[in-house]
């Protein structure tokens, strides 16, 4: 009897704070979102001891008048929605009206705000709150905007405070949170300091490439390929890393839907699937992808921290992301670039950011708002196919590379990697389809194998046959090959067979978990024209035409480039013509 009580609001706020406020980084995120919702164009974040001592976020947004300011720290006080129906396709970052209340309930909280100058009652207000209790409301003076200072986070919740990590770790988490938001709004400047030391200094820019550069440095920015694709009413734009630059560790994956950041391992995996057979299976490519879907097909209100979303048609979204990545990897623009390509990348990215808007796009085509669109990029010149592969005039250098002109510059093709890509795609379709034509031999080849290798032949017999190796057991350790594939005029069938079988016996290419892909990659690698092989003009022409007829010409199957390009811009820059 009498054991159940209604909790006072302050306690409820503390409990709900558990969901919204975990650590300094989440406080910063909430405060920045508020600033963005208030139309800020410059946001400064200052931490002390990684935010454990204090967190200050200042903006130049619309600010609040005295009444609104007092209301703002109440739970479920929001100016952003009025009824449940507004929740569908909500366009602001905040809408639950609980962030300030939650933060204020677990810290020593100060809010200073001055509304828009052209508001008649323009004057500044300062609130002082401690553990959720409003201590004082003062009148003050300041420029337009809002500054929130959060000191001694969790001072009244020692159990939670205990979970905070070292200042360095908390700082790192905050940098990551700020980065996500900085990608959403190129038109807003972000500055982050910890104990006075500058960590992020991202000025307003109009191209995503520039923002990536200010946040992560030039070399990462230079290694990116633009993505721009839509299918049905789903659009995918942004940047992904060149396969050759993808590493097993240190990957960055930034996802946005309708301008809102979210986390989703399945979407990341779909993007990785788009890289299939262009990177080593263990490599993790960096990606910045912005999805546009109709507001009523995504639910962003799944979890209070708002990082999870629910798509109505998840399968289609994932398929579109995969396809977008795949397409982005195809054009020759996705080939590795010689020289500092920095001039080149932001330009490509800038090309259409002017197209304006799209934050948050309510549909792929439609747009509203006036902020420059973040991820708007023109699709890079579709350079596929034979348009520019002439019939001769190729230069083969070091008997290994082919130099050719493209519409946008110079391409240097690695003959082995290029042929490997060609054969990989051809082999995959042969394995999945009707098999390859196979040349019968006048003089069958007898090959002696080790037991392990014989076993490998046995295990891959169907695939060997499909690509054209007709293998007959000869008794003992020998097999006889009656027919062979004929992928190029200089093909050495015996050597290729021996190497492929040895690769399987030794478990090379073990990272490929799909057996067909693994087989195709192994065969392509062994059957391709080798480096050091002198080629005739005609052969080069055929190779290049087949390469550009591939789905993904610029990348081989091990995460190496097949093409290195020297853009015309770069040449012109070097010769002082630009």
């Amino acid at each position: 009897m009498g054991r159940i009580v209604i909790l006072p609001d302050a306690v409820i706020d503390q409990i709900s704070a558990g969901e919204v406020v975990e650590r300094p980084a989440s406080v910063v995120k909430e405060l920045i979102e508020n600033a963005l919702d208030a139309g800020a164009t410059a946001i400064e974040i200052a931490l002390e001891a990684g935010g454990k001592t204090s967190i200050t976020v200042s903006d130049d947004g619309t600010g609040m008048d005295r009444d609104d300011a007092v209301l703002a720290i109440d739970r479920h006080a929001t100016s952003k929605i009025k009824s449940a129906s507004d929740l569908i396709g909500v366009a602001t970052l905040g809408f639950r009206g609980e962030a300030l209340a939650a933060i204020a309930s677990v810290s020593k909280f100060e809010l200073e705000t001055a509304p828009d100058e052209d508001d008649a009652s323009s004057e500044a207000t300062r609130l002082i709150v401690e553990g959720g209790r409003l201590k004082d409301v003062q009148q003050t003076a300041r420029r337009r905007g809002t500054t929130v200072r959060v000191r001694r986070l969790f001072f009244n919740a020692p159990a939670r405070r205990k979970f905070l990590r070292t200042p360095a770790t908390e700082t790192r988490a905050t940098v990551a949170a700020v980065s996500v938001l900085a990608f959403m709004r190129l038109d807003v400047s972000f500055k982050l300091t910890n104990d006075g030391r500058s960590l992020t200094d991202a000025p307003r820019v109009s191209a995503l490439g520039d923002r990536i550069e200010s946040l992560f440095g030039r070399s990462l920015a230079e290694g990116l390929i633009p993505v721009d694709h839509h299918a049905g009413n789903v659009s995918v734009r942004g940047f992904i890393q060149r396969p050759a630059d993808a590493k097993p560790t240190g990957r960055k994956a930034f996802l946005f839907v309708n301008g809102r950041p979210f986390r989703d391992p399945f979407v990341v995996r779909a993007a990785e699937a788009g890289y299939r057979a262009t990177i080593h299976p263990g490599s993790r490519p960096t990606m910045f992808l912005s999805l546009g879907v109709p507001g009523d097909t995504v639910d962003v209100n799944v979890h209070p921290s708002k990082l999870e979303v629910r798509f109505r048609d998840r399968r289609f979204v994932e398929a579109t992301v995969e396809e977008a990545v795949r397409r982005a990897l195809g054009p020759i623009g996705a080939a590795a670039v010689v020289g500092p390509g920095a001039d080149w990348l932001p330009e490509a990215a800038a090309a259409s950011t002017v197209a304006g808007a799209g934050y948050p796009p309510s549909s792929p085509e439609g747009s509203r708002g006036s902020a420059p669109s973040l991820f708007g990029v023109e699709r890079y010149a579709p350079a596929h196919a034979e348009f520019f592969v002439a019939d001769g005039g190729f230069l083969q250098i070091f008997d290994t590379y082919i130099v050719m002109q493209t519409p946008d510059g110079l391409a240097i093709v690695d003959q082995h990697s290029a042929h490997e890509r060609v054969l990989y795609e051809a082999t995959m379709s042969q394995l999945n389809g009707e098999g390859a034509p196979s040349q019968r031999l006048l003089l069958p080849l007898t090959v002696d194998l080790e037991p392990r290798e014989l076993e490998a032949v046995e295990q891959n017999r169907a695939q060997l046959d499909a690509i054209g190796f007709e293998v007959e057991d000869f008794g003992g350790r020998s097999v006889v090959i009656h027919a062979v594939p004929n992928p190029h005029p200089r093909f050495d069938a015996r050597r290729c067979f021996e190497e492929v079988v040895a690769d399987f016996a030794r478990g090379r290419f073990g990272g490929w978990n799909n057996q067909l892909e693994r087989f195709a990659a192994t065969y392509a690698c062994r059957a391709a024209i080798k480096a050091g092989q002198v080629l005739e003009q005609r052969e080069i022409g055929t190779l290049l035409r087949r390469l550009f007829g591939c789905e993904l010409p610029p990348h081989d199957v091990h995460g190496r480039p097949t093409i290195v390009q020297l853009p015309r811009e770069e040449l012109e820059r070097r010769f002082g013509r630009s």
């Binding site: 054209g468 050495d492 055929t542």
Partner: protein, 369 residues
């Protein structure tokens, strides 16, 4: 060294030798021609280390001696000179003066002792034959040799010398050409495996009327006609047993017009894949049908008349191989013999008025239905 030679004599000699001089080489002396004044005339020689050519042209010798001169420059100079006597004189081994009328050139050579020595081949027991016979063999067989480096033997052409015939055979393992020419005179039997490059030189340098002597040392073969010698290294055997793979039981025989066949293959071949050039041939009574289908590209069909009354048969081939054979077939009509889709096909000339006998063989490509 001092001699005078007519421009025509010199040019003739240079043309014979210069084609062996490699255009790119890491050994500088190989881009030079050896010019040696001897009692018999001026000996010119060039080599790329695989093949060596030398020839002697008449000249008025004042002092014997030898130099080497850059082949390209020498050929260009001689081409531009008027038709008159050219006077060569060397001071030391490397400075050569060329005078012709009022033109005067000084060329810098490389010491002749750096020039590779030629193989010694004795022509005492040489095979003797007409250039026309060799040309006949070369032009019908050499094309079939392999250009791929994994089986060096197949890069060579087998040349069998027998008492009553000589034969050349070449194959790349996918197709084969074999030709016999009857000979009388009964020289020693031998199996020689000759690099095609050397045979190509023979074809270029010897006129059809030349009588040619062919002799071998341990691992070299020498050709001699008049004062011109060609030497080549031989490829070590044994050559694979090709006889056993030539089908003898092909029971389906098709006779067809060579040009019509080639034209049809070329037409449908346009849409064949760059990689395999696969065409499908269907033989039925009185008809050959051709079809090609390449995913992502398209399809083509064609047909021509043929003399055939056997069972219907479908078989795939690499169009390139068929066209190569048809190009060298010496008659307007050819005979195709077949057995089954996975068995070798043969092609022979029909009604050839040459004592030679000629047979080509081509292995099929697997068809997928």
């Amino acid at each position: 060294m001092k001699f005078t030679i007519t421009r025509e004599q010199l040019q003739e000699g240079l043309i014979a030798v210069a084609s062996t001089v490699p255009t790119r080489t890491t050994l500088p002396v190989l881009s030079n021609i050896l010019v040696e004044a001897t009692a018999d005339g001026v000996r010119l020689a060039g080599t790329d280390l695989d093949i060596a050519v030398s020839t002697v042209v008449p000249a008025e010798i004042e002092a014997e001696g030898a130099v080497t001169l850059p082949a390209k420059k020498l050929v260009e100079i001689v081409r531009e000179l008027p038709s008159a006597g050219i006077h060569f004189s060397a001071s030391g081994e490397q400075r050569v003066t060329l005078e012709c009328g009022r033109s005067r050139f000084k060329l810098l050579g490389i010491a002749p002792d750096e020039f590779p020595s030629f193989p010694t081949v004795s022509f005492d027991n040489a095979w003797k034959m007409t250039s026309a016979d060799i040309q006949n063999l070369i032009s019908h067989v050499v094309f079939a040799a392999s250009t791929e480096e994994s089986r060096p033997i197949l890069n060579g052409v087998l040349w069998e010398m027998r008492e009553d015939r000589m034969r050349m055979v070449a194959t790349n393992g996918h197709r084969l050409a074999r030709m016999d020419i009857p000979v009388s005179g009964g020289a020693a039997a031998a199996d020689l495996i000759v690099p095609p490059k050397a045979l190509e030189q023979i074809r270029k340098l010897f006129g059809p009327a030349d009588e040619i002597e062919v002799a071998r040392s341990d691992n070299h073969l020498g050709f001699r006609a008049g004062s011109t010698h060609i030497f080549t290294r031989l490829i070590e055997g044994p050559y694979p047993n090709y006889e056993q793979v030539i089908p003898r039981d092909n029971d389906k025989v098709v006779t067809v017009d060579r040009q019509a066949l080639a034209a049809a293959i070329r037409r449908v071949g346009v849409v064949a894949s760059d990689q395999t050039h696969r065409v499908r041939l269907s033989f039925s009574s009185g008809l050959v049908k051709f079809s090609v289908s390449t995913p992502d590209l398209g399809e083509a069909e064609d047909e021509i008349q043929a003399t055939y009354d056997g069972e219907p048969l479908e078989i795939g081939f690499n169009a390139t191989y068929l066209l190569e054979l048809l190009k060298v077939m010496p008659t307007d009509e050819v005979r195709f013999t077949l057995k089954a889709p996975e068995r070798a096909a043969t092609m022979e000339p029909v009604g050839w008025d040459d004592p030679a006998s000629y047979l080509c063989l081509v292995m099929p490509l697997r068809l997928v239905d």
